[in-house]
Symmetry: C2
Subunit: 736 residues, 2 copies
């Protein structure tokens, strides 16, 4: 591993001061002159025909500047691209003849105040004819189920019988699972059910749009990717991308859901028709009604093993509850895990249900499929009398730039797995999840200022502390001290291409771009300093804001002096540009051990310990990696124990708010213990791998396994609420 000075340090976040002093500017903080406020009319029904829409009373309300419906858009069809999934969803901006989920947008109003906009929404009259709704993907695929998208043809199911309401199928067959099952000593078959979960970012979706008389659009928004938003607006509204400027404001969480299309498109359309800036802010209820949460999953998984514990085959059939649009089927592949499974077959179905569209949530599809995979592995280990850690180690793949076993052993060692003890109703669980960071087109510019400070300029949106990592990388390369590096975000008009902050790709991908830009700066520093010091570049040391001749520390110049000197040479001021795109990175894993205590009478589960390990390749900032591990663990365990979007049979959501949708608080979890494992990947900056998504993946399975260890119930339906745990304990006691 390369010897480093700043990389690997637990430096404070560059944005810490702004955030804790309330100075960071969020989109909702902005108010433009003449700004209007947008609000939506939404369907109260999950499935219904629209017989009539009358906006006349709304339009007559003083202060209302526009009421948009699909009819007024003359049939314009929006195309929303989900970059996290690489899929695109065709849908109209507004429902006009039929609604397919509760909360679907029917009209948008722009008015001089939010209150007037909401009053106008109430004045819009819509006549509905109710249709039967379907909410369970298992029911939705059965012939005879209500058809959500008319015109969508049935497809053949895994056993040949036709399935309806299927948006997309992903099939994969490797080897011969039936033959391998025949050779197996044991076969396990389980069906697991995982509900939809909301990303629950603290800041709701928000955008402000302004359109000038020449049709140029400016959009301020809370987004993970300013170029995603720009390109989406361009495609959706048929505007040339260079006529759109997207300004990314400080973001209050995204977790995959903030790539645009939910509010920005509507703010732009309302600004186009009114000629005034328009702000739209979602309420929390709207988030639950019409956000883009993670899909639910019903998955049947069948695994054949030899009695020595070797896994021979695995087959999975997965029905992803994607709502009216969305994708999950591709993530069915996660049932392979990091194991050497010679025969594997899976069939993933994106099933339409009368629920809002789904989107990406941190390691999309990962927690759901990993739960099923890992829960069953724990069951298998238990049945075979094998230690679940040993069982996993025995079946793990190996390869270059990965060391899955080291990471799993690290968490077991740290948790004291091998000498673990437990009291009454206490249990230990283990699980691992795998992930490979993405990589996308990234560019950055570094420039050394006359005062010796360095700035990094790019289109990177910082949702997790990546600005801090960029500053560390640039400081490391250039010798500028960390406190003198500033990270500056530009808008789409000003910056070269930048990827959205998702797919665990920023430290890897933008980190490489920043490293390359900093290396160009370093090279110029050495060139100029070499002239100033009359020494060869290779004899110079670059550190602590100075360039010194090696072995002669008095022969030195400051970086400020170098910058000033460079500005007098024909080569000009010192600046560097770095670009990077798709070089592959190695897979990483996050392993987790959880200890719980169950109250048998109430079914309540108390989490007593959480220990996680993660192969981060190289921790640019260990504190930031630990932050990701803690956040991911909380979200994974939260999904396992509390989080679920609950729908009534008619498709109405029953818990559209944080009062009834519980996300873990500091009181719900113990301190999370994190173990960093560093197996460098050649293409990562200083060996770093992406760390944003992996930590969420093992949580549900680890908790399930711990509950099983504690009270002997093997729960198949998430979350493990007191009601379910208590019912399972009772059923077990009653021998059911």
């Amino acid at each position: 591993m390369v010897d480093t000075v700043v990389v690997g340090q637990r430096v404070p976040r560059v944005d810490a001061l702004d955030k804790v002093t309330g100075r960071a500017k969020y989109t909702a903080d902005l108010k433009l002159p003449g700004m209007l406020y947008g609000a939506f009319l939404r369907s109260p029904h999950a499935h219904a025909r629209i017989k009539r829409i009358d906006t006349s009373k709304a339009e007559a309300l003083p202060g209302v500047k526009a009421v948009l419906t699909q009819a007024k858009l003359a049939g314009r069809v929006a195309k929303i691209v989900d970059e996290a999934h690489g899929t695109s969803m065709d849908f109209k901006a507004f429902a006009d003849t039929k609604v397919t989920y509760q909360g679907e947008k029917i009209a948008a109003v722009a008015a001089v105040s939010r209150e007037i906009a909401e009053e106008a929404v109430r004045l819009i009259e819509v006549e509905y004819e109710l249709l039967p709704a379907v909410v369970d993907p298992r029911e939705a695929v059965r012939p005879g189920a209500p058809i959500i998208h008319e015109g969508l043809k049935p497809c053949p199911g895994p056993d040949g019988t036709p399935l309806v309401n299927v948006l997309r199928v992903v099939d994969r067959v490797e080897g011969d699972v039936e033959d391998a099952f025949a050779r197996s000593d044991y076969i396990f078959e389980d069906t697991y059910v995982i509900p939809r979960a909301h990303q629950s970012y603290i800041e709701p979706q928000v955008a402000i749009a302004e359109v000038d008389p020449a049709g140029r659009v400016t959009c301020w928004t809370s987004t993970q990717g300013i170029f995603s938003v720009r390109n989406n607006l361009a495609r959706t509204l048929d505007i040339p991308p260079h006529k759109i400027n997207v300004i990314g404001m400080t973001i209050g969480g995204g977790f995959g859901a903030k790539f645009g299309g939910v509010v920005d498109t509507y703010a732009v359309m309302l600004a186009q028709v009114t000629g005034r800036p328009v702000k739209i802010v979602y309420t929390r209820e709207e988030e639950f009604l019409d956000g883009r949460p993670a899909p639910g999953l019903v998955i049947t998984i069948k695994t054949g093993v030899r009695k020595d514990g070797k896994i021979l085959a695995r087959k999975a059939i997965a029905f992803w509850d994607v709502g009216v649009q969305g994708g999950g089927a591709g993530a069915t592949q996660r049932v392979r895990g990091v194991y050497d499974i010679p025969n594997i077959e899976f069939h993933g179905y994106d099933v339409a249900t009368n629920k809002p569209p789904t989107g990406a949530y941190r390691a999309p599809g990962g927690p759901q499929a990993t739960f099923a995979s890992e829960a069953q592995l724990n069951k298998i280990a238990h049945t075979l009398g094998l230690d679940p850690v040993e069982f996993r180690l025995m079946n793990m793949r190996e390869g270059p730039e990965v060391d899955f076993k080291k990471t799993l052993r690290a968490v077991a060692d740290a948790a004291g797995w091998w000498s673990r003890t437990k009291g009454p109703n206490e249990g230990w669980g283990v699980a691992i999840g795998e992930w490979t960071n993405g990589s996308a087109a990234s560019s950055a510019v570094c420039s050394l200022q006359e005062d010796g400070s360095l700035k990094i300029f790019s289109g990177l949106m910082d949702i997790t502390g990546t600005d801090t990592a960029m500053a560390q990388i640039a400081a490391e390369v250039t010798g500028v001290s960390y406190d003198r590096v500033s990270v500056v975000r530009g808008d789409t008009n000003s910056v070269p291409m930048a990827p959205g902050s998702g797919g665990s790709m920023i430290t890897f991908s933008m980190g490489n771009a920043v490293k390359r830009a900093a290396e160009e700066v370093r090279q110029r520093i050495l060139e100029v300093a070499s002239d100033m010091l009359e020494a060869r570049p290779e004899d110079l040391d670059l550190r602590d804001n100075r360039v010194a001749v090696r072995g002669a520390p008095d022969r030195a110049v400051t970086l400020a002096e170098v910058a000033q000197q460079a500005a007098k040479t024909t080569g000009g001021p010192i600046a560097g540009k770095g670009s990077f795109a798709r070089e592959p990175s190695a897979t990483t894993i996050a392993a987790q051990i959880v200890k719980v205590e169950v109250e048998p009478d109430s079914g309540k589960v108390w989490v007593r310990r959480v220990v996680g390990s993660l192969d981060c390749g190289r921790a640019i900032n260990p504190m930031a990696v630990e932050g990701q591990m803690e956040g991911g663990a909380a979200q994974g365990i939260g999904w396992g124990l509390w989080e679920q979007m609950v729908y009534a049979p008619d498709g109405r959501i029953l818990n559209p708010g944080f009062l009834d949708y519980h996300i873990p608080t500091a009181l719900d979890l113990p301190d999370i213990e994190s173990v960093l494992v560093e197996v460098p990947t050649v293409n990562g900056p200083f060996g770093a791998k992406g760390v944003g998504e992996p930590p969420i993946t093992p949580g549900i399975a680890a908790v399930q396994n711990a509950i099983f260890d504690a009270v002997g119930v093997d729960l198949h339906e998430v979350p493990f609420t007191p009601e379910r745990v208590r019912a399972a304990i009772r059923a077990r006691q009653e021998g059911r």
Copy 2:
């Protein structure tokens, strides 16, 4: 000259639409939440001791948030650097014991409204003890004159007698003028007087400053150079430069006066003490009371010539009326012009008078010194019976990358000089001025977007259409069509180093940086397209947003496709960086021929024709060069005929507004005819030289010469007002 497609075209300005639709945002358009308004208490006297300042009533006024005086700043001394002159001026933020000019700042108030701030200013009590003032630099240097800066020592004058109130002396002696005068057939000695002129930008000085709890400063301002403002604030207020972010708003004219220090420093200090944003906007009267106008000049110039017209020697003694601070003495060198004068001697004195400090105005010192030089040359030609154009051609220097004769001949030919005719009281005048563009540290970034559009990002402030030139240069190099290039301005936090837009240096200096950045983009385009088209880079043509194989136009890819493809390669998105600094450029000249008609009874001068020529090296955009020539001609002629800041003997300005200070309007001037001469300079982008300043230099002399040709009066004092012209005509008629 290089063959070009976009360079050399009369493309419309990139900012035209924003400006004519009123969408361009000026600093005064901004209003920040909680913003306060600043106002100044100014001295009503030009020279006085301050006995007492009492701010208590002002502080007690409701709505007043701060009243700053020098005492409250605990003696902090500001250092204002005048980048155009390369000089720095020490002065306190406020007068405390003595005022030295009318309008000098004594206190600044921040209040919740402009009206309250002004009311508070009126409530500040100041007790003065009047001192005698001095306003004429010839009087100011005489021993016994009121001393403006106590402690400033007398210096020896040209004849050895001591001079007082002299801030700086510039002496130059080449050859032996006294010997050459002795060998001359004719000796001419004249004293010329040029008044102070105001830059008269339409938008007054304005700044808004905000200071956060960590002391970080954000400043929005109308400036020619965001880094000049930043560095000035850093030095003045002792703040590290990287804690200051300067955002340059659209600028409504600058002409050298908008490099900071006049209002921004005060906005920042008021924001520091109040913790709230503070806006300061000068009134027009404040512009005249306490702007940084051009210095006046009293110059005695002595020239020796042979009877064949060869100039043998020249000597000048120049007293620059710089006010309490400022510089002009260096510009005395302009009396050399572009002539081969073997013996030359000059002594320039920056003389302090009880008037506001002076600053840069388009070709600083050039119009004043050039007037004296050229007016006397016209007199010499007349006396010797030589044609003034021939006389100049005979004496001109020659050298590499210049062709002064070609430029002068071009204007003479275009004006029909050789066959000119005139009616009664009509006359023709000719003059030339020379200038060499500056060059300073410049960096720019170009990036090719996925839609094939190109953006240029830098810290360039566009005051004269330079954004358009940058777009043309980048379009030329990259093959992106001009309409798809956007020019984006960043703030000091985000951009690499950029020079202030002054010194005629932007097209030359930043143009080179943009060209280098675009060349890096071009190289990457060719690399990527070469792979896509399976052709060698040298066989590819890059034009009209496409790359095609030469001779096989069907084998082509669009630049959008190239950009998208590049983003999938390890080299990443296409971006380029260019840096440039001090490579020398060649001198250029602006020549002008003016025809006037004089009304002998009233003395009024009508300008009937103005023909100018300019060696622009290479016209990146001929329309923009012509714009500079027209603007410069108007300002030069305006100074010659109307513009002057008039001071009473007690130092009070008598015409602090556009009602009494007349700048030429469309009614005052005929259409200006412009002739572009292109003598490329090797180091300029596509051969371009700087064109911003030269056109203002010859105007005063050309008009003076035309009046002489019309009515036979050889005026020595500028401007040539009807009163002066009529008086001169009468004196001539009366044989005086």
